[in-house]
């Protein structure tokens, strides 16, 4: 505690504020460092396979409205995995990912609306633009950390809707009223409805991106990201180029979030400046906090939380749903600092310990 406060007051001068404060409880890292027994790892692969299959079957069992909701949850999950790379794995707090999500959504919407691109072609460019943008935002972020980075990115989140509304861009963005898009048609004469098709479209992209994230984060680069988060000085000494890793993480994180934004435009068929306000950034951060920092599966739990809990809170109390949301958030931080993913993992470890004994 002493160290923390001290660094924060003195090192503002050095331009490395709060850098020595661990951003994410290292417990997460420790849990991850425990190698899974082979048998369990095998079981885990089966489990994941089963979930993937169930995911592919779900749209045949659900009503359209729930399919739509699940599709939205998957879009969020993509954004969350992107944000978690940055915040959870690399320790850079961003309150501005709502802005990147918005940029992704608008790029896709403009390509479809003003340039008649097909929806499936507009996703990648949206991600790439965000990648470039994120990379460049990551450059000044190199010199900021903790609260300061949160602040700078917060300002980005607040500014973006204003830019989107601006007159100069109106011919593309549609100003205040935004852009209305048409619903993607089912291709190849497949015997499914449009909602089911959009579900599969998003589902496929999500699987690819999750696989990519898994390879990235569980590999050498992921370890470098964690090392920079926990031991910045030691990481440098070990020969990790933390500037490159940090800016690239920002870029990749922005790519994921931008793709999610583009998908959200396709799923909702509408973009408007006010859908991407500051609360969206907060919601995304909440998603990874609740799901679990520095976890991959946490993105799923987080996405379900941010999608379902506001509804649930709305039913619990018609007048103050957000208050309940906020209280839940604080309680989760207190009782489950490693998020639902950490909780699930703990339960899993307890269970496996019980059975192996």
């Amino acid at each position: 505690m002493a160290e923390q406060v001290k660094t924060s007051t003195t090192s503002t001068v050095a331009g490395q504020p709060l850098s020595s404060v661990p951003l994410v409880k290292s417990a997460t890292a420790q849990i991850q460092a425990v190698p899974l027994p082979r048998r369990l790892a095998g079981g885990r692969a089966w489990g994941i396979g089963a979930i993937v299959v169930i995911g592919a079957l779900l749209p045949f069992a659900l009503q359209n409205f729930y399919i739509f909701q699940l599709t939205l949850a998957m879009v969020y999950a993509i954004a969350l995995i992107g944000l978690n790379m940055l915040v959870g794995y690399n320790g850079q707090v961003s309150l501005g990912h709502g802005a990147l999500y918005a940029i992704g959504a608008y790029i896709a919407a403009i390509l479809m609306n003003s340039y008649d691109w097909p929806y499936w072609l507009s996703v990648l460019p949206a991600g790439v633009v965000c990648l470039v943008f994120g990379y460049f935002f990551g450059l000044p972020a190199l010199r900021l950390s903790g609260h300061y980075l949160a602040l700078a990115s917060l300002a980005l989140a607040v500014t973006t809707p204003q830019v989107l509304k601006h007159k100069a861009l109106e011919q593309w963005t549609g100003g205040f009223s935004g852009i209305v898009l048409s619903k993607p048609e089912v291709p190849f004469g497949l015997p499914i409805n449009q909602d089911q098709w959009i579900y599969f479209f998003v589902y496929a992209i999500m699987l690819v991106l999750f696989l990519g994230a898994y390879n990235l984060l569980r590999g050498r680069i992921g370890r470098a990201m964690i090392a920079i988060r926990d031991q910045p000085i030691a990481a440098e000494a070990m020969g990790i180029n933390s500037a490159i890793i940090k800016t690239s993480t920002f870029g990749v994180s922005a790519f994921y979030t931008g793709v999610a934004g583009a998908l959200s435009a396709i799923v909702v068929q509408f973009v408007s400046p006010d859908s991407y306000d500051f609360f969206l950034s907060i919601t995304l951060l909440v998603g990874i906090a609740v799901g679990g920092f520095a976890t991959i599966s946490g993105a799923i739990y987080g996405a379900l939380f941010i999608l379902l809990v506001p509804n649930f809170a709305g039913e619990l109390s018609k007048s103050a749903p957000w208050a309940i949301y906020g209280v839940l958030l604080i309680l989760v931080m207190y009782f489950l600092p490693t998020g639902f993913a950490g909780f699930v993992r703990m339960i899993g470890q307890r269970l496996s310990a019980m059975f192996t004994r």
């Binding site: 505690m1 002493a2 923390q4 406060v5 001290k6 924060s8 007051t9 003195t10 503002t12 001068v13 331009g15 504020p17 709060l18 404060v21 661990p22 951003l23 994410v24 409880k25 915040v87 320790g91 707090v93 309150l95 000044p140 010199r143 900021l144 903790g146 609260h147 300061y148 949160a150 602040l151 700078a152 917060l154 300002a155 980005l156 607040v158 500014t159 204003q162 830019v163 509304k165 601006h166 007159k167 500051f278 907060i282 951060l285 909440v286 906090a289 920092f293 007048s319 103050a320 749903p321 957000w322 208050a323 949301y325 906020g326 209280v327 958030l329 604080i330 931080m333 207190y334 600092p337």
Partner: protein
């Protein structure tokens, strides 16, 4: 020319408001190194208390001071009940908690007090001084109140034992404990003071912006920019920063980037200052010899 003067004066006036909330932010930053993202919402909530009191027929200044007392107590209570349990957790957890707090206070306010805009009285006469058309009495009065707060804080931190102890805790909690300071109470006190100052700024904003649960959202952003510009560890620096931001917002908004993009001013200031001079214009540079 006259138009420019106009912009500058209204800039000074809004700057006074930003300075008020910036001071509140500095209070907490100084003692804990944290930026309380819920500061604006707490101020907004307190302003509703003042509104209720006035609505019941309490005279303005009575409501004003009662509200300050309420805000102080609420600040202390929030620190002890909500923030304290997290003091060993990493920064990111705390940022999330601040955001949770922001959401809770905001939505509780619209739940209890409704969502219709409320007019809030000004304690200052409405006829402008010397019939000038640049600045209203309320704006002048707000600036005066902010300057008084700065002066009180200056005296408090420089000359009173309690103020000294609060600074000590901010600088070195362990040594503070070794001279007998109860660190945890100082942190709670910092929160109380911040909330009280925030309440004052809320009551000064409300006659201008109308009272509503989203009243302080924009103010918080500008105040943060002001506090960063002036130096987060320096009360009067932050106040000056608030004024500068107010003027920049108005002048740049009117002549350079257009009113639609006013928030960008805050964004640019925050990023540029953090990059070029992270301690702010007037932030203290601590010299340590080892």
């Amino acid at each position: 020319m006259d138009a420019l003067l106009h912009q500058i004066f209204s800039g000074i006036a809004s700057g006074g408001i930003y300075a008020g909330l910036a001071l509140a932010l500095v209070m907490i930053y100084q003692s804990t190194g944290h930026i309380n993202f819920a500061q604006g919402e707490m101020a907004m909530f307190s302003t509703y208390i003042a509104w209720e009191l006035i609505d019941y027929g309490t005279p303005y200044w009575g409501a004003f001071f009662l509200t300050i007392v309420f805000a102080f107590a609420a600040g202390v209570a929030i620190e002890r009940l909500v923030i304290r349990p997290f003091h060993n957790l990493p920064v990111i957890a705390l940022i999330i908690v601040f955001i949770g707090l922001l959401v809770v206070v905001n939505s509780t306010a619209s739940w209890i007090f409704g969502t219709t805009l409320k007019t809030f009285p000004s304690p200052f006469p409405s006829e402008p001084l010397w019939n000038n058309h640049y600045i209203s009495n309320h704006e002048l009065g707000s600036i005066g109140v902010v300057l008084i707060i700065v002066a009180i804080l200056f005296v408090f931190f420089r000359y009173t034992t309690l103020g000294l102890a609060m600074r000590a805790v901010a600088e070195n909690p362990i040594s503070s404990r070794l001279v007998g300071i109860r660190v945890s109470w100082m942190l709670a006190l910092g929160w109380g003071l911040a909330a009280a100052i925030g309440a004052v700024s809320g009551m000064l904003v409300a006659p201008i912006l109308y009272l509503d649960s989203s009243m302080m959202g924009g103010v918080l952003i500008y105040s943060l920019a002001g506090a960063i510009l002036g130096g987060l560890d320096n009360p009067w620096g932050a106040a000056v920063g608030g004024f500068i931001i107010g003027i920049m917002e108005n002048v740049l908004g009117a002549y350079v980037i257009g009113t639609q993009l006013k928030f960008s001013v805050a964004l640019i200031v925050i990023v540029v200052v953090l990059l070029l001079r992270p301690a702010g214009l007037f932030g203290r540079t601590v010299v340590t010899r080892v």
